[in-house]
């Protein structure tokens, strides 16, 4: 940026591109939460029961809860490395609205951590003996729900970014907040299994997603300004 004025949309795209590039250079940060997700899901049949009837009942819940846990792991790095190398401060100093820059970071985070989970969900649903007709609902509910997790979790990550040893505080703050998403995500799948339309729940999740997209980055931006002094 040699003295030239950049537009906000250019800054948005630049942030998105930069974050994706970094993510693909540090593949461990993507692969490990993803592996964690798959391993957790495959532990449930071993721990509870290998019978397909039982598994069908718990499949949606198991996948959803594993997604929440895995997102805690991947979320941890959302702002930390930027905070450590000082680029987060540069982000805060930029003349563009922090809202869009935070949104770009959240979107890139979702693309590398949320989307793979959504894409692999039909396979795991098959392994957990979820009936075929519910694959689509599970897929859609995860597609709508995982970005909500990224956006809402981002607030807690931003609040704790300055902490040296953060431990599990991120999970303690974020997991209770994910209750509505969990409820509607699993209810949508349940209602498909009961051969009812899941559209009501999915549209509620869409509402929650639109509200999160428009409000959560505001809170994240405010939180980043508090944490980075």
């Amino acid at each position: 940026m040699t003295g030239k004025q950049t537009t906000t949309s250019a800054a948005f795209l630049a942030t998105l591109k930069r974050d994706l590039l970094i993510a693909f250079k540090k593949k461990n940060d993507i692969v490990n939460p993803f592996m964690f997700f798959i391993i957790v899901v495959s532990l449930f049949p071993i721990g509870i029961s290998p019978e397909s009837d039982r598994l069908t009942e718990i499949a949606a819940g198991v996948i959803w809860i594993s997604v929440l846990l895995a997102s805690m792991l991947s979320m941890d790095n959302l702002y930390r490395s930027d905070f450590e190398d000082g680029s987060l401060e540069q982000l805060l100093l930029s003349p563009h609205p922090l809202f869009f820059l935070v949104l770009a970071k959240n979107i890139s985070h979702w693309l590398v951590s949320g989307l793979p989970v959504v894409l692999v969900s039909p396979l795991l649903a098959y392994m957990l003996a979820l009936p075929e007709e519910a694959y689509g609902t599970l897929f859609l509910s995860l597609l709508l729900g995982t970005p909500i997790m990224s956006l809402v979790g981002s607030i807690a990550v931003a609040l704790t970014v300055g902490l040296g040893s953060r431990g599990l505080i991120l999970a303690v703050i974020t997991l209770p907040m994910s209750v509505p998403v969990l409820i509607f995500g699993t209810l949508a799948v349940q209602s498909t299994l009961n051969s009812q339309s899941p559209l009501g729940y999915l549209s509620l999740m869409l509402v929650m997603l639109s509200v999160s997209v428009s409000l959560a980055p505001l809170a994240s931006a405010a939180a980043l300004r508090i944490s980075v002094n």
Binding site: I169, V172, V179, A219, A222, S227
Partner: protein, 248 residues
């Protein structure tokens, strides 16, 4: 008109004013608490269905109702902290989180005690109030642990203020989604709290007295712990030093 509001920003002013209020509040609390507890727990006629177990409800309903006030309180205090940078609001918010966690816990405990007799179970996932109260407790514990993790008190104040605001909105969403979840999952309804009609007015008067008593208790505890907090944070101020020396 705003003068009193900005005066509240001064911890010294609040300390002196609350010192004047405190005896009256404590006296009122003791009176209401004694009447409510003695009458409610020892003399109230048994409920026509629940027997003497209904006396637990006198305490439970009052504590439960009061525990719903904490997140709105922290929402307001958090907004004041973020907008006006008022130190006092943060001192109140800090203690409100801790008190709120206790109130939520006591609500769950007394509710379980009552439920263990009336419903035959200590815990019932199909009752939405239990579940949302549990998650309110979790959210409050999250605020408390964030505060204890952040060392810089100014950053902690703002961070907790923001988390309280987000948490307050969240607690409402959780409450409604849990209710929704229950109306669809609930197989049988063991809950019949509608005990008002056949019992005559005593039950509700006693409950009302207890609610006033518990709100007074909340106010007194909040004021006392805030005064403590003021003394601790302002310990380098001259008026606190004078106060301590006078007390000696």
């Amino acid at each position: 008109m705003w003068v009193w509001f900005f005066k509240l920003g001064s911890p010294k002013w609040f300390y002196e004013l609350s010192g004047k209020w405190l005896p009256w509040l404590v006296a009122a609390m003791v009176i209401f608490m004694t009447i409510g507890l003695v009458w409610g727990l020892l003399f109230l006629p048994p409920d026509y269905q629940q027997g003497f177990t209904s006396r637990i409800l006198i305490v439970h309903v009052a504590v439960a109702g009061t525990s719903l006030a904490f997140f709105p309180l922290m929402f307001v205090a958090g907004t004041i902290t973020l907008v006006w940078r008022m130190k006092l609001a943060d001192m109140v918010a800090k203690n409100a989180a801790i008190l709120g966690a206790w109130f939520s816990f006591i609500t769950l405990a007394t509710g379980s005690l009552w439920g263990s007799v009336m419903w035959g179970t200590w815990w019932e996932w199909t009752d939405s109030r239990l579940v949302s109260m549990l998650f309110q407790l979790f959210l409050l514990l999250g605020v408390i642990s964030l505060r204890s993790a952040l060392e810089d008190s100014d950053a902690a104040a703002k961070a907790c203020a923001l988390l309280s605001i987000v948490g307050c909105i969240n607690v409402v969403i959780i409450k409604y989604s849990v209710e929704w979840w229950n109306t669809l999952h609930q197989v049988s309804s063991p809950v019949t709290t509608d005990t008002s009609s056949p019992n005559g007015p005593e039950f509700w008067i006693a409950t009302l007295i207890m609610i006033v008593a518990v709100y007074l208790f909340l106010t007194v505890s909040l004021i006392l712990s805030t005064r403590n907090e003021i003394l601790e944070r302002e310990r380098k101020a001259q008026w606190v030093k004078d106060l301590v020396l006078k007390a000696k």
